[in-house]
Amino acid sequence: MNLKPETLAEIEEAIPKYPEKRSAVMPLLHAIQKDQGLLSNEAAEWVAEKLEMEPINVLSVITFYPFFRQHKIGKRHIRVCRTLSCAMAGGSKVCDTMLSEFDTSLNGVSPDGEVTVEFAECLASCGSAPVMLVDDELYENLDETKTKEICDRIKTEATGA
């Protein structure tokens, strides 16, 4: 495991917050996934040793929670809400626009490696539907124009980097 110093610091800070070590499994998985982009078997074993758990119990957590992943995704993680309020407001079209702008398919990695577009269940912002998350940023009241603007911004940031 080759973790960044800030990830290791985050991990060391997280563990003593809890009365029992095992409770730190989710914070650790969050930190490692952010660092590595995914959670490998090696990561599961590393966390297990760190928290004095069996690796299978770490894997069982990884495979239960939709946010934890064992596969690679694009540099930007795009999650379009699909649940009823957003669907009534055109969430499906927002997703289609994202997919066609990045020439990709649902849950896949775009050919340029830049994005993965997924559907998410209710993002708890139904009053400003439709909404989507681009990494940590929530975008609300989306229509085609707004969605395309966000795509353009992502593309500009990609070439600028």
């Binding site: 119990n57 934890f68 309020s85 708890a124």
Partner: protein, 454 residues
């Protein structure tokens, strides 16, 4: 967002004021932490009594009286007592806790600390859903600031009472909103809910210690109960439905959004505050308290007898907008997430959308729920795709009836209630829709988009 004259803002009083910021200085300029300062000089039991007397009911879904919940805590075991703030806001249609956490996080921290002091909790956890990363940051920042001022941490305000708050992020699983699933998750496991009895959190909760699980809005209310007194709090709204509630309205209205109100009707919320249906549309139905709740059909009459023996006969707009009012109309106020369905929405397709949600979110522990929710998704989806079978409506009813009450947690009800109530109130539409959509030349684009499960 401008505050509507019919609103009664207590919790969200400052959230949308121009210039109000989430930092501690701004909060303290608005009287923030004065109630915690007062609380630590009071007898713990007096605070608990005040909360009980206020008749505050839980804002997360079930509406259980908070003061009574606190009194169930097992004090004889000698184990530490934990406080868990349920900020896993994920019931479709609900977005109230989001406002508090992002705009006024210190109000929640103060509410938690008063509640922890009153119930003598050893430690508090805020379980916040993964999809609110900025909210988790806001809470972490607020806790850091509050620690600097000695409102959180060791020897709070020199009272001798110590309590830390830990922000714990979820990982996108709806079931973590169920309190025992949340506890399992907080222990570092899959969020499989526990069976009650014996695992009532007040006795066998986090680490098998007595645990109080309260919703964000509930805990914020504790601060206001202390500020205005239990009697004044109980004077807001109707008896047994005291205090304000933040309603979240989405779907087919002119002004969707969150509104804090008390003592009004469902019609006043939807027509006066939210501006009624969009131009050229009419309201077909309302899901009153988050997507798990039974649907209310526009045009039906809601009749019955009040506690005092008098009869009531309401249209949808007359339903009192509180726990008992919506319960009297045959549904529940749940988490306050109201979805308005207008006449452009096909009810079977809305159901297909929701069954996709529930089949995705079932934890998989109980067979009726794990298998049944997937069956319901398949049946509703094939209806959208024009492949409905003659027996499908009866089959859906049968599957839902076999889930209801046969699972460890209330998720089973959340799957069954929409199916049962939509079919009960819109059975004709289901039959008509299935027939219309089975024709080869029908345009299914809009339905597929609304089901949104490709």
């Amino acid at each position: 967002m401008a505050v509507h004259p019919k609103e009664h803002r207590v919790i969200l009083k400052h959230a949308d004021e121009p210039g109000f910021t989430p930092d501690i200085d701004c909060y303290m300029k608005h009287g923030g932490y004065d109630m915690l300062k007062k609380a630590v000089t009071m007898e713990k039991q007096d605070i608990c009594d005040e909360v009980k007397k206020s008749q505050l009911r839980g804002r997360g879904g079930a509406g259980f009286p908070a003061g009574v919940k606190w009194s169930f805590v097992d004090r004889k075991s000698g184990k530490p007592v934990y406080m868990v703030c349920n900020c896993d806001e994920s019931e479709p249609g609900t977005f109230k806790d989001r406002q508090i956490v992002h705009k006024d996080p210190h109000q929640l921290i103060e509410g938690i600390m008063i509640s922890c002091f009153a119930t003598d909790c050893a430690k508090a956890f805020i379980y916040i859903r993964e999809e609110m990363p900025k909210g988790a940051e806001a809470l972490d920042q607020a806790i850091r600031e509050a620690k600097e001022k000695n409102f959180v941490g060791d020897d709070v305000l020199g009272s001798g009472y110590s309590c830390d708050i830990v922000v714990h992020r979820g990982a996108a699983a709806y079931i973590c909103g169920e309190e025992t699933g949340l506890i399992e998750s907080l222990e570092g496991k899959r969020a499989n809910p526990r069976i009650k009895p014996p695992y009532f959190p007040a006795v066998l909760g986090l680490y098998m210690c007595p645990t109080i699980v309260n919703n964000v809005e509930t805990l914020c209310n504790v601060k206001h109960i202390l500020e205005m007194g239990a009697d004044a709090f109980a004077n807001i709204g109707r008896a047994n439905n005291t205090g304000t509630r933040i309603w979240c309205v989405s779907g087919g209205v002119k002004r969707p959004g969150y509104y804090e109100v008390a003592g009004i009707t469902l019609g006043e919320l939807i027509y006066d505050i939210c501006g009624g249906p969009k131009d050229g549309r009419t309201i077909k139905a309302v899901i009153p308290g988050g997507s798990s709740m039974k649907i209310l059909k526009n045009g039906e009459r809601f009749t019955g007898k009040n506690r005092d023996g008098t009869a009531y006969d309401w249209g949808i707009e007359d339903i009192p907008l509180d726990y008992d009012g919506i319960a009297a109309a045959g549904s529940m106020s749940g988490s306050g997430g109201m979805m308005v369905l207008d006449d452009s929405i096909d009810i079977p397709v809305a159901l297909a959308n929701l069954m996709t949600f529930y089949s995705h979110e079932s934890c998989g522990q109980c067979t009726p729920c794990r298998e049944g929710s997937l069956w319901l998704k398949k049946i509703t989806t094939r209806m959208v795709h024009g492949e409905s079978r003659p027996e499908d409506i009866d089959l859906m009813k049968s599957v839902a009836d076999q889930i209801e009450g046969r699972t460890i947690c209330a998720f089973g009800f959340a799957v069954a209630w929409p199916v049962q109530s939509y079919i009960k109130k819109f059975e004709e539409e289901f039959r008509e829709f299935a027939e219309r959509h089975s024709k080869s030349d029908v345009d299914r684009t809009a339905a597929k988009e609304l089901a949104c499960n490709h």
